[in-house]
Symmetry: C2
Subunit: 110 residues, 2 copies
DNA sequence: CAGTATCCCGCCAGATACTG
DNA sequence: CAGTATCTGGCGGGATACTG
């Protein structure tokens, strides 16, 4: 979770708890790309146009530490890692679906 | 919508379109408080502990300009305004419900 | 009551380069 | 390939005071 949200979750709104976890700029998009299965770091970076390795790494770390995503390190050379939805992340599927559906129905750019 | 998201929506992920609209730190919470009906500026500020007038005003402006919230000004003295979910905002109800449900099931602070 | 005006700061994120 | 290191900056948001 990002520091920005630490204060917000004291407002005792249930929705705040969720936003604290998925509120990062790219987090929902990352989770969205993990819906269909395991993805490598590199796959994520290429499929999410515009994200830098630095930012992707940062967001993934928080997602992992929050229990939404699990990280598997194959400890090979060259290195290979795999990210997938963890238990908690799978509980987000209804949210992801709702967000994606809305986004499809209301594109901001043609 | 906030400037931060302008670049993000070019990644052609449907979810990005949605996050650009609701991605502000307090936006989901504001929308959540508007679910049950019309709220005055002052009511929102008191029920959302921790938000400043400045930030609330800013977020509401964006929500209105994005068509999620409608603002009614009664032009009285002392001034009175009313905020409620607009058409587009009501389409977010499934998302709001999903987010609130998840947040209830996974509190971050006891 | 419903904001606005100002000032300010902290963090998220971008850019670039580098490494095991 | 999968990141980390370092530097930088912009913008969202906080604090406080003020106004029609």
């Amino acid at each position: 979770m990002q520091k920005t949200y630490e204060q917000m979750i004291r407002c005792h709104c249930a929705s705040a708890n969720t936003m604290a976890l998925i509120g990062g700029k790219w987090k929902i998009i990352i989770l969205d790309h993990l819906r269909d299965g395991t993805q490598h770091f590199n796959e994520l970076q290429r499929s999410i146009a515009g994200i830098t390795p630095h930012t992707l790494s940062q967001n993934l770390k928080e997602l992992v530490s929050d229990g939404l995503v699990s990280r598997q390190d194959f400890k090979t050379t060259p290195p290979s890692t795999a990210y997938s939805l963890d238990t908690l992340g799978k509980e987000l599927l209804p949210i992801l679906t709702a967000i994606t559906t809305f986004g499809e129905n209301h594109p901001l750019i043609k």
